[in-house]
């Protein structure tokens, strides 16, 4: 299982008239799929 890393981001999800800020995200390193 690849290691998870918490990174700071500037983001938002807008659904209709609702807006939620996204300030961090857990990302992980992977390898591009074979044949992609």
């Amino acid at each position: 299982m690849s290691k998870e890393e918490q990174v700071k981001v500037e983001g938002e999800l807008i659904v209709g008239d609702q807006k939620v800020k996204i300030e961090s995200q857990k990302i992980r390193k992977r390898k591009m799929s074979q044949g992609a």
């Binding site: 299982m1 690849s2 990174v7 700071k8 981001v9 500037e10 983001g11 938002e12 999800l13 807008i14 659904v15 209709g16 609702q18 939620v20 996204i22 995200q25 857990k26 990302i27 992980r28 390193k29 992977r30 390898k31 591009m32 799929s33 992609a36």
Partner: protein, 164 residues
């Protein structure tokens, strides 16, 4: 519900009267737009085929969650952009569960695209989410330098409108 045009007089029926009422569409469901955007700064350098994977979030009752909700999100456009002319990659993935996401067991690769500085995935027929599935993107810039990326995703939420 059928609209009945009242018959008046004799001869051929005249449907021109109230025709705007007879053809008014009856909207059975309502769609919302969604717009997801994330700016990543100073991500550590990558070399192909290494990428970063980020899970996508869904909004349910004001809270973000990883699993797709019962009301489908219809993905129509995903784009990733760097701030220099380097090769970038974008891949859109579906997992059956969060555990599969952790283990990297992709159920479906829904799209994959490469480009210089910017690349995108456009679906003329939007991709609906399946309830409980986890969706993610692979994103990368292959410049061997720390990099910034902007990810944006557009789509609709809800069933397609049924007109009657």
């Amino acid at each position: 519900m059928a609209f009945v045009v009242e018959t008046k007089g004799i001869g051929r029926r005249d449907y021109s009267e109230n025709i705007e009422v007879a053809t008014e569409p009856f909207i059975r469901s309502r769609q919302l737009r969604f717009f997801y955007s994330i700016r990543y700064t100073a991500l550590a350098a990558l070399t192909y085929p290494n990428v970063y994977e980020a899970p996508l979030a869904f909004l349910v009752n004001g809270q973000l969650q990883d699993a797709a909700p019962s009301t489908p999100y219809l993905f129509s456009f995903l784009t990733v952009a760097a701030n220099r002319n380097a090769l970038v990659a974008l891949q859109f993935n579906r997992y059956e569960s969060y555990q599969d996401y952790l283990n990297g067991n992709i159920a479906e690769v829904l799209g994959c695209s490469y480009g210089y500085e910017k690349t995108d995935l456009r679906f003329t027929k939007p991709i609906p989410t399946r309830e409980g599935s986890v969706y993610s993107v692979y994103i990368a810039e292959f410049s061997n330098l720390a990099f910034n990326l902007e990810l944006a995703i557009h789509g609709l939420i809800g069933a397609l409108e049924t007109l009657e």
